[in-house]
Chain length 253, copies 6
């Protein structure tokens, strides 16, 4: 019974994962576990970076006197290594940051990505972030492009997109971004890969421990919220997400 | 990999379902599909009715001049038939309605139910309902008892409860109860049983079509939100729920 | 066409007004205009004071060394005069304040009031007030009793109540009480009576000007929100309210 | 007494109704009853369609291989017929959809409409809609233009607009759009016209029954919320709305 | 101990205050007290007016037949006088109002202001205002520019900005703008200056008393919320604000 | 100028701190820094534990077969040591936990504490906590008692309480408790004492590192939100709080 929804869940579990982020490093800290989990399961995972974070997230390089082009090259290389460590493809749209400007052209490029990649699941930033205007801008474009890609009347190659669920990944100061986690993803099995991917970003070394601690904290919450008395591993690692659309399911659990 | 969460989901899918409702009929209209789905999958489902709804939900019987005892007897019988049609066990705590008073004793009885039944999933009313004070009262007691049942230090038979997820089922005027569905359950395969259970409640015949229409409406929403382009049945039936605690999962879908 | 709703609005405009307040003075400051407007239109208006505000709202009298009984007597007399100035009936339940305790008995007394008075409109306190616990307690009881009075199965004289709309009147610090006005009532024509009623409460003389200023401020807002370019009087006076239930109407305006 | 507000309500009830929608069909499903009610009362009603919905809401036509111009022509014709069935005027701004781009020029055109038509009441989309970016875009422009039209300093023909109330009409998935109805409009007397208008849109035949069911559901809610015990018709039909600005009134009802 | 935070508070108390407002008069009504308090304490205060409010806030001048240039000149002069009365510097960006358009250039100009002025505290409009689109537009640009000014990679003279706290000042209809005050500033000592500054704006004479009354009302609230039993002056004057970011402090008080 | 508010802040900074918690250990994890900071500044700090947490927070002891009295004795001793390490007084009301029942008597005991201790600042639990019913119950009683203690008409020794600000301390799963920090307290200088106090609770050793990590995380946020470019210590430690009432102040910072 209820094969259709089981299929839906199954396709989510089997289909490709698309991550749309404002800057080159965001996907590592915020969704590295989800990406690694996808890749480890034999599914495609793709990261689209709208910018390199060359102006807003490269303070040390600027202080060291690097040029814009140098910074972009370094950020690209590091992000490629991190993506590789996670098992993901990566594409850079180089749209500029601080500010990341919302344009119809950029949204159109994302529509093409959706139509070509046909994601089963989408991850992006929260719509609120009082510390960073690029994050909500990226999220708005990611959502707008997803809707346009669904319309047969929108001119872009490929067939109309389905309705892949969207999850917001965790911002740096979750409460200030109205981020109330409704999904805790167990990333224990792949946390080592996430840690390796983080270590591909040497300029932000202080973040390594920070996000390791966060993974523990979310892991403790996962254990506390995980339904029955499971034989959970003692030190779960987890990532937190918020769904945008209702979950469709064949079973309550 | 990630066996623990898979196990969690699996146990939710395999374990018993507990429904705590204020009145004798609530479980049919609001959660009949979820109950039937559970039973059809070979799992136990149990309904606990805190009252018969003898004062607040039996207007016709009062107009016909029935006595309180007659009304309670009729309500009990109808609810038993409906539960039977859905494949569920049912228990009546006969605590009185309109108002359903919150007492420590009633909460204690619910703790005993939790400890004994060991539910993997719990369904109850929303915490807000400006049209009915008994519904939130039932929900508050259901939640309070679940927490108490988790404490080894609370004196009641059985071992401490795990952390079964809680879902609020749909109230009659969802928007007025701040009910924003985040879970749409596909009940297409068992809708016939829900309809039969509804027909066990002849005094509220106008509700049969009402909740059939609602199931269609929620079904259309399920189709629209169901991730990829599935080969979904043309006329899905669905029930809507809201989670209280974050979902713990081994896969984003 | 649409006679039914017109009738509904008409009955609201023609039927009796019930005001349920925690303390003896609340109705004057917060709803004096609505009451006077009702009475001036030839309709009954009734105020039910759950307490005299003898402990929590009579600081000066306590400082002057009055006894509890003296204070209650004074508060009663002043409230009666104010009600009289507004054209309203008044009843005191003398349930005690600071704290006003929620009891089943008190709710039952309010059910009797509803059944007997058959209000077409109900006014009470907001459900949130971090400065005064009695106000939300009064509101919760007023709402609970209204629901119970609707049930034919609830034992009390009279026939089941309809569904009179409920409005929350304005608390002293509106924003802190999550009071976002959605209804601005023009009380210009009866503001003199409200002022006279306020002057029946000599112990709180500083409030007279305070609530006169508030009436002006709400009046300015009424003018600013009043649909088309009306020939409104230059100095409107208004009271602000928040609806609990959706407005039912035969015309959008 | 209180003639001013009575006049305000009266002018709302007597003045013209302006509906601003993103696509050609929206006004039928979401506000057809309000429009028909206005027209039936001898008042002007005007619909402004910012686009034809040619890309985003014409899936079937695209699948049948129609050209963009053909689709726009068909959509225009159908919308004209539906408007005619409701008794409304209609104007198409042909600004393109999917995406509907917010531009200063388009807002300016709407200012001209406001100044010329002088609406007493305005209807538009909700500001939140995670399923459709054009709807909130239309709403933002409708609101912005309304404000600009109020300023004598804004260069456009006609005199400054008053402050016509704005109502959001019901989106397709109300809870997901944070649509909590606060106004239920009785459209029983004109529901036949709404049905006929719906039938002017043959491509979306499945919507006819869907919105007929919705009208029943909202009708049931209207009956349940309609103040006193009215002799309401047994099968009310209703449409739900949310006010943006406080209601200004001379009577609480 | 805890010198760092004490220093932070001290620098807020010692550093410059930047006020970014949409129109030429806003800063007087909404933040005149905060500005005068800053100046009276020997600190710099600067007001940046994005426009003169020449179209949207000069109704009387338009009715009197003034030209656009005349109106701008008058508004500039009045605002300069008011700023002078408060002890503040003032700068006009002349970006046009009704609508105030958000552009990258205007944001860039604000970045330059931040970098040059190095504010320790920032005041601006609320992000929500259903009565005026220019106010939220100004706020969005003020916030965006503040973030950009923090990035060393953003090309503008000066060194990267710290993280000055941002406060929203009070809109004209606070509840409708979701303005829930969390900060009440005692302006008793400088209220005379605020009154004088208000009197520099003769076209809006009715506002003088309006904002004097508001200052009293907020003053009463300040007294009621001011921790222990202070020997507060009998007639406090206050302004209300809402913080955007968490307060950082070395002491809870 | 503005001496009154300065005085208010000063008295907050100089006056006694009252912490009301449900169980014996709560104050250590959630407010240990604030307490130590108070004591280190030469002010009194007092902790009132409504229960020992003997049933709900002593799982290990129950598993080890201890009796209720033994558990209470151990909890008391540990809490006394922790309070001592922080420099605080402590009082146990022994009202029982799981559930902690709200009673008029218990509220009255708290009124006596308020009147006697005359706190300048109050800390307690959040009003929402879906994981623990005792926490909100404690908070409701703490708030109710504070209001009652303000009324001269309430019979209890001592003079009426002023209006000490209330802060909610951080719950274990902040986002699920709608805890959005608006105050970050720098506890760097006293973190060692907090750590020592935590080590007085050997049964919850896993919490030591957990709350040390949390202090770092909140510390990073404090640095990021701390206004200007301060010479903050490299590794701040902080605790997060939420204010219930507006801050009253003589300076914006």
């Amino acid at each position: 019974m209820n094969d259709s929804s089981t299929t839906a869940a199954a396709r989510g579990a089997e289909g490709p994962l698309l991550v749309i982020s404002a800057h080159a490093g965001d996907f590592v800290w915020r969704a590295g576990g989800a990406i690694a989990l996808t890749a480890a399961g034999g599914r495609r995972a793709k990261v689209v970076c709208l910018s390199f974070g060359e102006r807003g997230e490269s303070a040390r390089a600027w202080r060291e006197g690097r040029t814009l082009d140098e910074i972009k090259a370094v950020r690209r290389e590091e992000a490629e290594q991190a993506a590789s460590a996670l098992g993901a493809e990566i594409e850079f749209l180089d749209a500029g940051d601080y500010p990341l400007s919302e344009t119809r052209e950029l949204v159109d490029r994302l529509v093409h990505v959706y139509r070509e990649f046909e994601p089963a699941v989408v991850l992006t930033h929260t719509l609120t972030d009082p510390y960073n205007g690029d994050h909500p801008a990226a999220a708005r474009m990611a959502l707008q492009a997803r809707i346009l890609a669904q319309a047969i009347g929108y001119h872009a190659p490929g067939k109309p997109l389905g309705a892949p669920p969207v999850f917001f990944f965790e911002p740096h100061q979750p409460e200030q971004c109205d981020f109330k986690p409704d999904t805790l993803l167990d990333i224990t099995a792949v946390f080592d890969r996430k840690r390796k991917a983080m270590e591909c970003l040497p300029a932000q070394q202080h973040m390594w421990d920070y996000y390791t601690d966060l993974a523990k904290r979310r892991g403790v919450q996962l254990e506390r919220n995980a339904g029955p008395n499971l034989g959970l591993p003692k030190s779960c690692r987890a990532e937190a997400f918020v769904r945008l659309y209702p979950q469709t399911t064949g079973v309550l659990a």
